[in-house]
């Protein structure tokens, strides 16, 4: 084996992400304890965790695979509608089967999109995929808005409460920790995937798709797989969202929420996973605070738009980019600390 040649300073700099991850996890674990007296803040925090799933889902697509998806909310929303309908029409809302159902819905739907958009004979351009997903989300929103069976423009309200055994979950610390557990699992699985040899292929693909093809990788298959996995996470998020809000409407599967997911990930820092979570938390918290400020709330969407523009232009690596080096963001997949790394 070769000798370690990298300087210690780089070694330190390359381990910022785990520090951030541990800090965020610690914050997430204690948050409800600090909010015992303010249930509405626990609701907000739970919302943030749920939307983080959507943001991670987008980050897997764009940050790791170069798929500009403006349709993540579609998988999110459709899964939410499905569990809401299962609750309404079948009177069933047990977590052990509705959450997997929602994940399957997200997976299947995104796989269909992938098959259509990504698995053609010719490799699609980023713009083609972006427009394809955007169109899908838009069409779905219009379709649902006019469909009486799913509540048309008013959406589905009074979604049956999520059940685990005989326990019905309303908003509160219980729901929060359930979502947190699912988020940690999803995050762990995503992290495992993007740090695996599979992830190395994604990393290579982001830099030079053509080169990877000449190595013998069917890159569209890799993209389709990651897109489907992202759809699965979005589906899980959508189901939790519907159960938590007690409501799901056409706005939850359209381009609006899809774009918000883009914003979360880009603002926090795409291609890091944790950036997506941080972006969601920041944007949702600021939105929550500003929503009560009548003077500002009108302009909030506009401000958000400018923030995104500023991020894209001046700090494409997002908030996390202030702390994490480019080297660490891309990461190493073997070599140097192979021996120390468990996976």
């Amino acid at each position: 084996m070769s000798k370690q040649t990298s300087s210690p300073s780089r070694g330190l700099r390359d381990r910022v992400i785990p520090l951030i991850e541990i800090s965020v996890l610690a914050a997430a674990l204690v948050t409800p304890l600090l909010m015992v007296k303010s249930p509405e803040l626990i609701t907000l925090a739970t919302n943030i965790l749920i939307l983080s799933l959507l943001a991670i889902s987008f980050d897997l697509c764009w940050g790791y695979s170069g798929i500009m998806s403006f349709g993540q909310a579609l998988f999110f929303g459709v899964a939410g509608y499905v569990v809401a309908l299962v609750g309404r029409d079948l009177g069933f809302s047990h977590a052990w089967s509705t959450l997997p159902l929602a994940m399957a819905v997200g997976l299947l739907l995104s796989f269909l999109f992938a098959a259509f958009l990504l698995l053609g004979r010719r490799a699609p351009t980023v713009i083609f995929v972006a427009l394809g997903t955007l169109t899908g989300a838009y069409a779905a929103e219009r379709l649902v808005s006019g469909w009486q069976y799913v509540g048309a423009g008013n959406g589905l309200s009074s979604v049956k409460l999520l059940q685990i055994g005989s326990w019905e979950l309303v908003e509160g610390p219980g729901f929060y920790y359930l979502v947190l557990a699912l988020l940690i699992t999803s995050y762990g699985a995503s992290r495992y995937l993007v740090r695996s040899q599979f992830g190395l292929v994604l990393a290579g693909m982001r830099q030079n798709e053509e080169r990877l093809a000449f190595f013998g990788y069917r890159i569209q298959v890799f993209k389709a797989l990651i897109f489907s996995f992202a759809g699965l996470l979005a589906g899980l998020g959508g189901a939790l969202f519907a159960y938590h809000q007690g409501f799901i409407g056409p706005g939850s599967l359209g381009p609006g929420l899809s774009t918000t997911a883009v914003l979360y990930a880009l603002f926090g820092g795409s291609g890091t996973l944790i950036g997506a979570v941080i972006g969601t938390a920041l944007i949702e918290t600021i939105s929550y605070v500003l929503a009560d400020q009548d003077a500002i709330k009108q302009y909030w969407p506009v401000i958000l738009g400018f923030v995104l523009l500023a991020v894209v232009v001046f700090k494409p690596t997002g908030v996390v980019g202030f702390f994490v080096s480019r080297r660490e963001r891309i990461g190493s997949y073997g070599g140097r600390d192979d021996g120390k790394r468990r996976r």
Binding site: M1, S2, K3, Q4, T5, S6, L193, S196, Q197, F198, L200, V201, A203, G204, Q207, N208, E210, R211, L212, A213, F214, F215, G216, Y217, R218, V221, F222, L225, R326, R327, I330, S332, Y333, G334, G335, R336, D338, R343
Partner: protein, 246 residues
Amino acid sequence: MSADLLVVHDVHKRFGTLQALDGVDVTVHAGTFHGLIGPNGSGKSTLLKAIAGAHLPSAGTVSFAGRDITHATPYERARLGLSLKFQITAVLNDLSVYDNVLLALQAGESIWSLVRSRTRRALRDEVMHALERFRLADRADKLAGELSHGEQQWLEIAMALAPRPKLLLLDEPTGGMSPEERRVTGELLAPIKDSCALVIVEHDLDFIRDICDVLTVLDQGKVLDTGTVDQIQRSERVQQVYTTRV
């Protein structure tokens, strides 16, 4: 060992009004280093790309190891044992040198195995071996983008050879190298002849002469002459083209 590994038969390629390749026939035997030379615009890079699958020929066939690969995808060609190094270095700058080679080496594995990182450790020796062979072992942790130009070329050759191809296509391997680096490149390539044939496009005739067994000379999309290095050096037709046009 003189089986026909690659047979290019009557290949045409037209870009608009430009006839880049006009009925080219080339046969590459296993275990030989085959140089493609010719003046600028003679079609050698286009021919290489047609073999690699970057361009599809307008007419004619390309077969490799007995299979017609004229219209095969890059992925299919790679799986058959055809490897390629681009003219412009295409190492993955943001990945470590080690990861570049690992990426090339693991290309043959199933996706499930990649997801589970099953060969991450098993491939380590092979990666390091490939790096050592191209004098890059002590650069393993550097980003590929931090290497010198010559080192990047070697890395790319190392990557191209990593999946143990039967035929390696090299487009301008010594472009931008110092004379010393060219010499080393020649040395580094020589030992692979046992396992792998080469098709090289190269301007540096000295380099070509040093390492190639067979040369094909192209001019205006047609084959001017094919033969051993000695034969070509004596070929009057070739002399004529090179003295009048180059």
